[in-house]
Assembly symmetry: C2
Homo-oligomer: 205 residues x 2
Amino acid sequence: MKKSIPKKTVQRLLLYYRSLNFLLQQGIKNISSKSLAGLMEIRDSQVRKDLSYFGHLGKRGAGYDVLELRDKIARILGIEQVKNVCIIGMGSLGSALAAYKGFAALGFKVRAVFDNASHKVGRKIRGYECRPMEAMEKIIRQEDIEIAVLTVPADAAQEIAVRLEKCGIKAILNFAPVKLSLSRRVKVSNVDLAMEIKTLSFFIK
Amino acid sequence: MKKSIPKKTVQRLLLYYRSLNFLLQQGIKNISSKSLAGLMEIRDSQVRKDLSYFGHLGKRGAGYDVLELRDKIARILGIEQVKNVCIIGMGSLGSALAAYKGFAALGFKVRAVFDNASHKVGRKIRGYECRPMEAMEKIIRQEDIEIAVLTVPADAAQEIAVRLEKCGIKAILNFAPVKLSLSRRVKVSNVDLAMEIKTLSFFIK
DNA sequence: TAGATTGTTAATCGATTAACAATC
DNA sequence: TAGATTGTTAATCGATTAACAATC
């Protein structure tokens, strides 16, 4: 039985990927787990443990080859393969995410954006034609969209999530401050901006 | 020595707060840890443990009074007391956050927004006059701003963060995909949208 | 009282870290 | 070879969960 990868490890993998790109730009060809850990203020043993899930990526006594490790992580994370996403809810947050360069850099392609406001439907927003909510299921199937970014008001989120599940979406990145109740088949990640700032402010005092 | 509160507990506290508000709207006056846990798919013992950090909030045999618990959590989280924030970087994400209602609902007040693009400075964005970056330190002190929301490009973030630390900011909510190096005095929370979607997509396969 | 449910302690689980043999 | 650093095991730490005495 293969050991399952902790979510935190996957998150750090992306941080390693970014650091390695930075190091490449600097012309640095080789790095030890200790130096890499230093860049992100974690322990060297954490770096080695994370990487060890994916085989023997370094050389004892000599550290890691920056380019090789960067490419290996890119392959592990599937950065080169395109995943189709849609954005549901073209309010200011939805529009901002439609324009967000960070998604494209990791291989995510926005294939459709949706809203139900009649003054938005048919208009171009950030270069994407805004489609009506009624067309959602059809377009998701047509465009082979696997991931939905949900930026609708809280009271609309659950209902739309159920529709998304029914038309076979695989994952939802949910910005609405509500717990979505769906079957285990659909992966849900919540980004809760209010929670982030409140938690931060709790610890200042 | 008082036991320190885990960050995860604080985050769940906000989820409890939202659920309790929802229950109040429904006219529900009393709830057990088991029912409250059921709403968010966690264990009842988790709810009781979280609440136990803050005293004896329930009644043995009878559960919790919804209104009383809601208000107690509001006080613990400091929801009624206003905290002043500023937003730095009026790109699409910064503008979306300036318009975001979720911050205001938890007592955060946007006191200033900044950008260094000359075509933005002086203009109203989402109702806030965009101020020049040169005025940042002065305005933060004048307006008693404790928290900065940082939505600038990655390559500008560290430099601005240092300026923020120097002028006494207490916390930074950082949306730039870089590790900020600052003294321990400044609390930093990172919201990494690219990481969120990449992690989600890793686990679908 | 009998039944329900809290508050808290102890057990469990999972993730981080330290330590070190393997080996470049 | 001697020094450096990996890959991995074991120890530690912290958070979640189960269990149950206290008590409403």
